[in-house]
Amino acid sequence: MHTPRSQVTAARARLRLVYLYGDLMNLYGDRGNIITLQRRCAWRNIDLEVVEATIGDRIEPDKSDIFFFGGGQDREQEVVSRDLALRTGEAIQEAVEDGAALLAVCGGYQLLGYFFRTADGTEIPGVGLFDAYTIAGPARNVGNVVVDASLDGQRHTLVGFENHSGRTYLGQAPSGASQAASHIGGCPQASGPHRTVPLGRVLVGNGNNGEDHFEGAQDRHAIGTYLHGPVLPKNPWLADWLIQAALRRRLGEDASLLPLDDTEEVAAHDTLMARVLRSGNVRTSIR
């Protein structure tokens, strides 16, 4: 086993987390993801500065190490979409292209695809960071989720709770399905070919769309997911993957994280997973 280096040897590492539209997009305990990243950095002596960026704020791509983008309701999403189109969307693209880490949950995930078509047919344009699009479905997918996930060739399980009516499909929208080729942030080909892959396969639950059994998306160090719960506390490996990506962008590829005692995290993860796998899930659909 390698001796962990980086922040213990070098000067105290400093990272900046940008909480995107936290005042408008913060449903379902999303704040827990921020708390988790803060504490897991603090336990390792990494300074994580959290800055909120909302409507009208300017983002500096080279100074942003981790982005968090939470869930919101349709109306909030429209307001946020308009602001993303001004310049923030491009700034996020630029940072991720440069190696920044990003976690987007639910509504934030949807807004980072090409578009989100709501139940009344309104098309909310997205950033196009993920090669994905979302269409509102007839019912809400609600319940516990277990995912067999894979990141950088490593397999892990993810547990969480989904609550969404949008159905997300990876890839380009079928032609004619949308006029949202005019998604914000320019043409997807402009920033090079996409490498969007699913985050994992659903073992219990619906995931992206309830049809292809995929959940979430990964593109460079950006993760999109439908998992609330919140997702990071019970899946600490994902939190550490984000922190490590951000740290490596700052300190170089050999930077690694000190291991932590994750007894409580693992207990919460395993208890829920065992229960959900055993009993399946009482799936609730809301019309």
Partner: protein
């Protein structure tokens, strides 16, 4: 409609079956028989409820809202009783349609004559349209909408839409009573066809100019621009205005003008009402209980109850089942404080529990609790660091709760994980018997289990007898 000669007999049969179902549920089941009759009776006689409701001379009052409906319903019932009325109401937070129907049939004799003269019912937020249709209220009071059990409703906007639909169907003679400090409730007024009475706080001795992170709603319900708050009480409750379209909180018809918090958190309230000034002392802590009292006053004034009886009713009000209810054990005590959502939990924590030696947080994730426990991360547990000796996490989601505390508190030695609720209750009883002050924070179904465990140890009486 053709009236079959055997319909009166069928009504009796339905009511009898309802009573048998309640008895069976208490005798053999685990519950208090508060919902089963609601399933049985309408199958035998679909209009049994109408028959009873039609015979209530003072009509019915219906309340809904995310937080405070049980307490407010009980306040109104208590005031009404003190004014010489005989209210019937659904007890114990049984507020789905089955619970409302059960309350109605169990409070009628076998010929469908009610054992009271006014109905006071609480309805779950999503059940308001069905409840309006069933009990045809003369007063509908809507308290607030917070994020709560979003797994069941989807989004808070959806609840607001459901309410607008219900209000549009309300009898034009009926009065709508609204909390205008909640923009989500206030906007419902525009759907009203009849009279509207609004209530709100006009004090600045509580609250702050800043919105808290737990706030659910900060966009104007009329035009979608961001709402500006000039004052915030908790969550998104406060004084707001939209600078884009000019929509703003109206000045309330009934308001609290002054709150003086005394010993034990009891509050002296000074209210401005349509019938003049009303001063009283509310023996409960917390700003949100001030809102509950204000809602109760607003409703009772619409009912025409005399002001002195209203003030006296609040002064003599005692806590409801599991809602900051205190039981004495040996030298010590156990307080039960139901928690359902982050706003409510933060409010309860903000009372401060003085020298509490033990907290028990019991989190279940069954349908009545809400199956999504994400909201625990929106509760501010951070101030508990160092102020409580031990915190026991129990229930189906004990590990989730313990994990939340690990990230909130500096010292993990404060945290004990005991998934079995009966054992957690043992710890609470032992600590209280040794002179400690214990506070138990259960979600809904965990509270039922804890009540049952306390009852088994003969510490509390069965709740359906209260």
């Amino acid at each position: 409609m053709r009236v079959s000669p055997w319909m009166p007999f069928r009504l009796t049969l339905a009511l009898l079956a309802g009573r048998a179902a309640a008895f069976a549920s208490r005798r053999f089941g685990r519950g208090g028989g508060t919902v089963l009759p609601g399933h049985v009776v309408p199958r035998i006689h679909p209009h049994a409820v109408d028959r009873v409701i039609d015979q209530l001379p003072h009509g019915t009052v219906l309340l809904s809202g995310t937080n405070g409906k049980t307490t407010t319903t009980r306040m109104i019932s208590h005031i009404a009783t003190g004014s010489g009325l005989h209210p019937i109401h659904n007890r114990s937070g049984a507020n789905l349609m089955t619970g409302i129907v059960t309350a109605i049939v169990l409070n009628a004799d076998l010929r469908g004559r009610p054992r009271g003269d006014i109905g006071v019912f609480e309805a779950d937020e999503a059940q308001v349209p069905a409840a309006v249709e069933a009990v045809r209220p003369r007063v509908l009071a809507l308290l607030n909408i917070f994020r709560d059990q979003l797994d069941r409703y989807g989004e808070v906007d959806l609840v607001a839409r459901i309410w607008r639909d219900a209000v549009a169907r309300l009898d034009p003679e009926a009065t709508l009573v609204l909390n205008v400090d909640d923009p989500l409730a206030a906007q419902v007024a525009s759907a009203a066809r009849g009279p509207v009475v609004t209530f709100g706080l006009q004090v600045q001795s509580v609250g702050s100019p800043e919105l808290s992170h737990e706030a659910d709603k900060r966009l104007c319900p009329m035009c979608g621009h961001r709402l500006q708050y000039t004052w915030s009480y908790f969550g998104h409750i406060g004084h707001y205005l939209c600078q884009a379209c000019g929509w703003h909180r109206p000045r309330p018809d009934v308001s609290i003008e002054r709150i003086d918090t005394g010993r034990d958190g009891r509050m002296e309230l000074t209210m401005r009402t349509g019938a003049g000034e009303l001063s009283t002392v509310l023996p409960l802590p917390g700003v949100y209980n001030a809102y509950n009292a204000l809602a109760a006053v607003s409703v009772c004034q619409v009912l025409g109850l005399p002001t002195p009886a209203i003030a006296e009713g609040l002064r003599t009000f005692t806590a409801v089942f599991g809602r900051q209810e205190r039981v004495h054990v040996g030298e010590g005590s156990i307080v039960l404080a139901l928690v359902k959502n982050p706003v409510g939990f933060n409010q309860v924590l903000s009372w401060g529990f003085g020298s509490s030696s033990l907290f028990v947080i019991a989190v279940n994730d069954l349908l009545a609790d809400g199956t999504d426990v994400s909201w625990l991360w929106d509760v501010d547990f951070e101030p508990l660091a160092g102020s409580v000796e031990r915190i026991v996490c129990t229930g189906l989601r004990a590990q989730d709760m313990a994990l939340r505390l690990k990230y909130a508190l500096a010292s993990p030695s404060q945290i004990v994980t005991e998934p079995r609720v009966d054992r957690a209750v043992d710890m609470a009883v032992q600590a209280a018997a040794a002179g400690g002050h214990v506070v138990v924070f259960p979600t809904y179904t965990a509270m039922l289990t804890i009540r049952r465990e306390l009852q088994r140890r003969r510490i509390v009486a069965p709740f359906w007898e209260d």
